[in-house]
Symmetry: none
Subunit: 141 residues, 4 copies
């Protein structure tokens, strides 16, 4: 079971709508459950730096099956896995990456968003995730 | 002047239609005139190896403002720039990358396609390029 | 559906038996359908260089869903995808990587072997693959 | 004198038993005294991110001949070698990597474990290390 391009694009589309509503320009990516890119959009006027950040957020969420900001709790200074963020070619540990799961809870991939304030990136990623869940998450092959 | 996300996605959409018509599953990317990714789609069932190849084709076309197969003429053994393909982190020098230009000839980006036989990749990239040209290439900012 | 550690280790075990029979010391790897390592064994006295080659063989087989030597037919000089081997961080295009599939033909991963003469590596990989197929390839999660 | 595959696999097997007992799924690696991978197992359902972390833990333990968490004492902020963790392509400085030695104290390699809470990873690595020591550590070549 893996994510379809149709589901990935619907999630990105919902994220873009939310980004426009917030007045920001973002890079949005959906990767599959192995961290390989499935779909990507960079909105007009998004910072170039958002490309890599969005990709790393999605990858981070897949690698540890968690929202990116949750990972910070374990890898910040003095936490049990301090410095973990330097593994796997560099993780992103603030908000904007969210795992995408099937209705039965299986990891199917993740969405990553970058381009606005971090709280805005998170809102955009949440909109993408909500769209993914509502769009019959069984529509995978 | 740079490529819009709308134009990039139309080009990828046209490429995907052509890929489906040919019965292949491909990765398709559009990058901007600086070689930075603008939009990407991996069709369901495309080889994982197609991701990197499509990205490199688009980047190669931007870096030397040429169709990827044309670059081979200058970098093949015994040609003047033999071995050039190892520069820039590795170029792809067979067909599937095509520059995208404005109606006045300005370089706006490139499309890269991988997933089928090379001749098929080229057909898909041509469909994407044709769509881009017909879609009022002035619709850039 | 993905490969289990049990199935991966049985495949590697069968490969090692064949390697011992041939009198060679090899590195053997099984990766999953996304190219991520699942199990690895380096036999005593295997060349250090065999580690990377075995890993790349398995990854190459997953990325293009083919035996590694088959890929050479498309990427050798004058073939349609000449130079493809430099993509994806470097492919290996001689024998020793074989895709592992379910009984229904779905790609589950690949085995990669390096350490002997190439024909020997191929024999070892074939033994691993045969073991995988005979070991109820549905034993995946 | 170096570690044998038999000893490496026994250590990993003991670690896996402990991991199962703790109810976690981990990646486990044994590398030799030069930091080169000897054996690796990724248990079913382990996070993908655990692969790289386990490999780095084992490598870190070999590079500085110490348990990974001990290294933190010298490289944390204000310690004499502050920032050392960014050397050698990135070290891991929390628990889970343990050197493996012969009965006479010679460094033979290291085990690295990732997949659970850090304290659990350490327990698993300790089980692997204990098994290695009890298994006639002279059984090396």
């Amino acid at each position: 079971m893996t994510i379809t391009l149709e589901a990935a694009e619907r999630a990105i589309g919902a994220g873009r709508q939310q980004a426009s509503k917030l007045g920001i320009a973002a890079s949005l990516v959906v990767c599959d459950a192995a961290g390989h890119i499935k779909a990507f959009s960079r909105m007009d006027r998004a910072w170039l730096g958002s490309i890599d950040v969005a990709l790393r957020k999605a990858k981070t969420s897949v690698l540890f099956e968690a929202e990116t900001q949750a990972l910070w709790e374990v890898c910040k200074p003095d936490a049990q896995a301090h410095g973990l963020e330097s593994s796997n070619d560099g993780l992103i540990t603030f908000a904007g990456g969210i795992p995408l799961r099937s209705s039965s809870g299986e990891l199917l991939g993740a969405v990553g968003v970058s381009g606005g304030q971090v709280a805005q990136d998170y809102e955009v990623a949440q909109a993408a995730s909500a769209s993914f869940l509502s769009f019959n998450p069984n529509a995978v092959r």
